[in-house]
């Protein structure tokens, strides 16, 4: 299992980790199979979405933060970050991506994102590979 370390810089933010995931697959020797990503936090998650126009990420956060799970005076959780917990549950903590010939198989416009909902913080993403691995060089 690889542990990626990701620094977030804003309270809510989509951080493109596609390159770091590809590097982790290489370190794990993944050749043909499935790479799993797991976010061990309860106020952040993982999502795939467009990696071309940054306005897509901005619009996703605008709607999630302001419309889908806004602050609510009826929330009771003492830390005051219940909207972040709700958004983490909506995007989910895991992702599975196919690997062929050692390469992540993504759609043309897809990137892999850590979804920060209660930053800025130091976050982790755990990575595991199941399938056929590269033979170890002697």
């Amino acid at each position: 299992m690889e542990r990626l370390s990701i620094r977030t810089n804003r309270s809510t933010e989509l951080v493109d980790i596609t390159g770091q995931v590809q590097e982790a697959v290489a370190r794990l020797g993944g050749l043909d199979g499935v790479v799993y990503l797991f976010c061990p936090h309860t106020t952040a998650g993982l999502t795939l979405n467009e990696n071309w126009d940054p306005d897509v990420q901005r619009d996703i956060l605008l709607t999630m933060d302001g419309h889908i799970a806004p602050p609510d005076p009826r929330h009771r959780h003492g830390e005051g970050n219940s909207p972040a917990h709700i958004k983490a549950t909506l995007v989910g903590a895991d992702a599975a991506i196919f690997v062929e010939d050692g390469h992540l198989q993504l759609g043309r416009w897809q990137g892999v994102y850590l979804a920060e909902f209660d930053g800025p913080r130091q976050r982790q993403v755990w990575v595991k590979f199941l399938g056929e691995k590269r033979p170890i060089q002697p």
Copy 2:
């Protein structure tokens, strides 16, 4: 890896792909393990839900399109389809289903759906199987 090709016919639509997934598992020789589905698009996703009353699918889309992620004049993405990107992030791009004796293991009322949020389009769903495979016939 199998690549399913799916034609969607409306701007938003839940297309039942359960039969195509079962056929892909058979082609991949899957006997006992996990079949993974991956949607390589950023304005569509994958979900499991009721395959009996079509009103369930209609109601899901009614609420997602009109209430959860409606058009918003503050969205900036030039293509104007930010609600589709948001809904793709909410339902997710992947699914994992168990296979036993070569058969998809689903609940009694469950079907597997491609969730189209920016159609009509030609879409793909990628399918991979990990686990015990059928011996190849000589």
Copy 3:
């Protein structure tokens, strides 16, 4: 495949099943790999979130039930539980968690929850393990 049986007691509820999942991994002999959870229902799902302050679970349900997918007179599904179907699609039917040395790998504050959206009912969660297993004792 293990089948967990879970009794829910309220119409909507997050039931902590972390201990039952860990026990299922032990029964399956899981040592190092990935454990998959699958919810074979269309009005319930699976999610990971904070297992410390119960107000987090309360606030998640408050917002999901009352704000994100409230009852809507335009819903047509005859059983009247369309909000439950919508929430099941939002949280998802599956989860994948890493296992090392036979132990579930979770973040410090994470628990695994069955998300009941149309209870009370008797529910199932299916569990499968892929990876290296404990040698069988002679």
